[in-house]
């Protein structure tokens, strides 16, 4: 199906474990983004990518790693999960600049115990 998908939709993990959240888009959009959404903070940008092999930090990158070897995929890895990383994570994409609209995936709800 066309669009932007995230997997898994729900994940429970333990403190210290490595977790990878997947994001896949079928539009060949240049830009991809990872956000976390927490009550009282809205959406905060973790990392973004302007194209394959080009990534940059956002507002809250500590504890996260990204890669983008292919245009359509943008995985987010928590190298050693902490309880403060319990959140809902959204992936988004947008077309080549200038573009105003970001298309969001359905989100991954991550709980770190």
């Amino acid at each position: 199906d066309a669009g932007i998908t995230q997997s898994p939709r729900y994940k429970i993990t333990e403190t210290g474990r490595q977790v990878t959240l997947m994001c896949h888009q079928t539009w060949s959009h240049s830009y991809m983004f990872w956000y976390r959404q927490d009550l009282g903070h809205g959406l905060r940008l973790i990392y973004y990518s302007a194209a394959a092999d080009i990534t940059d930090k956002g507002e809250v990158p500590d504890g996260y790693v990204v890669s983008r070897s292919k245009t359509e995929n943008f995985p987010l890895t928590l190298e050693s999960a902490t309880r403060s990383q319990t959140s809902v994570y959204f992936c988004a994409s947008s077309a080549t600049r200038p573009s105003y609209e970001q298309y969001f995936g359905p989100g991954t709800r991550l709980t770190v115990t």
């Binding site: 830009y31 959406l43 302007a50 959204f90 600049r97 105003y100 298309y103 969001f104």
Partner: protein
Amino acid sequence: TQLLEQSPQFLSIQEGENLTVYCNSSSVFSSLQWYRQEPGEGPVLLVTVVTGGEVKKLKRLTFQFGDARKDSSLHITAAQPGDTGLYLCAGDNSGGATNKLIFGTGTLLAVQP
């Protein structure tokens, strides 16, 4: 520091009432967007405003961008239960240099039938 402040944070109204949500900043934005997010889903774009003083209408929703491009408002006329959701404003303060957006903290609207 939150660059985009939304008010009110929560709003519960009866069907048929009118309401206004505000999005304010001390920074100038080259464009500003409004998204609506329903439970368990990612945000979906409602509108983009790019010109100071611009007014856009989308059925019962009216969006306005401030003359100085530092603030915006969303007015809903005769609210319906289907309008229930989290409303997010988001702005580009990079002058169009990137596709990154800064999101406000959101306004959670509940319309009671």
